[in-house]
Amino acid sequence: MAADTELITMTAAQIAAAVASGEVSSVEVTRAHLDRIAQTDVHVRAFLYVAEEAALAAAQAVDDQRTAGQPLGPLAGVPLALKDVFTTTDMPTTCGSRILAGWQPPYDATITARLRQAGVVILGKTNMDEFAMGSSTENSAFGPSHNPWDLSRVPGGSSGGSSAAVAAYQAPLAIGTDTGGSIRQPAAVCGLVGVKPTYGGSSRYGVVAFASSLDTPGPLARTVLDAALLHQAISGHDPRDSTSLDAPVPPVVAAARNPDVAGLRIGVVTELGGEGYASGVLTRFNEAVEVLESLGAKITEVSCPHFSYALPAYYLIAPSECSSNLARFDAMRYGLRVGDDGRASAEEVMSLTRAAGFGAEVKRRIMLGTYALSSGYYDAYYGKAQQVRTLIARDFAAAFEQVDVLISPTTPTTAFSIGERVEDPMAMYLADLATIPGNLAGNAAMSVPCGLAPEDGLPVGLQIMAPVLADDRLYRVGAALEAALDSRRGHPLLAEARGLEGVGGAEQEAGR
């Protein structure tokens, strides 16, 4: 059945308003998105699990609440795609890994619970690079997702199922996690808004850990305002996460509704541009800088000299933490068990299971992290990387003395082709070159679309970075840029996506 084009191209804010006013029911909206998934996911492969019944039941509950005259939250009745790294009691949680295939957690992640509480309708669980390690979703044990702009390209990663779902109009909203750029990079290459909140601003409880000191859940959406509404809904202090910040959520929704950069000091990071960046990426980025300047922002160039060490530091810290975090997958209490023939020892069964259950990238990073933490190597690798982390945080601190936000291209290139970088881990790692510093320092960052690269017609993202707990600045700048570019263009960027049938000219009027 063809999905209702009007319903699937509405923004989350529009859906919430329509549901609240009774103009449409949440069940209708949810049905439309489920139809869209049924129709397109054979091509996109964004979902690992679609919870049709549970979604319709959740939608019905919101509709009932409205009928009963109970107040609805700002996202009540809005469908959402949840990255398969969040625990859910009513759906499997696999993290894109064979070792967790079919695992049914006995508890909900804090964010899962908050979404349910807010009346958000969870459509299902989205594909991802195995345990969030990767930049293309090609590391999923269940096959790659495809970029709706060009199905032969990757949708980015690790939250590539989430970005593909939102770009394919399968859901207006998605949740991802960002450890080294895993929300911003897929958002950039799919023409979406993606936000990595301040570390500790969104709870990690129930997020299967990749690298604990870096992992940050956050929103993906087609508009800045939608991202802000979702950001607001999932954020805030969680006593179950010791690293959660006990501070008010920055006023992100108000900022998204106030797209004004007049007088704002914006710094362009010298080290994140130039060599290694595709010319089309730089063209669109530079244009966007001019747009911001035309809106009254004060643009300066700011140097962050240690950013060039961020990538090597990250590929020591993240693998070190992951080598320990993933030790629990040992075939003893849950998940896959291989080789238990009654004679093999627990140690042998663990080793056989982990060899069979983990993909190549996960094994590579576990061994890299094991190496970096080994006695004799710790100081030279892990220890040094931790010092680099300090220097990067100091670069940010110094920069934020001069400017209110920093900007850069989100990624060095547009979406690359599926298969292109699979055999070359280092080339794959470069996709996160510009996003990693923000993870190491823990500050807030967003990717917002800034056009299509002339050479391939694929989306380019602009990254905005703000100080810790100044997440609202991202939305102020992002919303201003979005409004200016959309009005120049006459429609949202995503309306130009050509990878999928079914959302034709209709969406060109939709969205605003």
């Binding site: 006995p106 998940g335 190496y371 040094k384 010092q387 500050n443």
Partner: protein, 97 residues
């Protein structure tokens, strides 16, 4: 050569990964490239620079000593590959100590 095949085999043992010979060869080559690349952190003059292990500058995050509901054995064991007598059944534990 920053890492040898034998070292990779040792890491795989430490990490409980039963790797095949061809995997060891492939990983040795790849890890060699990666380790050489990440060793760049050693170029940074970092004497006297304190390490950062957390992005968030927090301390003393505690919970009160209060009992909260447990899962119960049934839910705890529901996903176990094998269970017996309300316990997780695991293969014989090779003698370590």
């Amino acid at each position: 050569m920053s890492i040898t095949r034998d070292e990779v085999a040792h890491l795989a043992r430490l990490a409980r990964l039963a790797l095949a010979d061809d995997e060891l060869d492939r990983f040795a080559a790849q890890l060699d490239v990666i380790i050489t690349a990440v060793a760049r952190v050693q170029e940074v003059a970092a004497a006297g620079i304190p390490p950062t292990s957390h992005a968030a500058d927090l301390r003393n995050v505690f919970r009160d000593d209060v009992i909260t509901p447990s899962l119960g054995a049934e839910a705890a064991l529901a996903q176990a590959p094998a269970a017996e007598q309300d316990r997780f059944r695991v293969p014989r534990i090779g003698v370590e100590d």
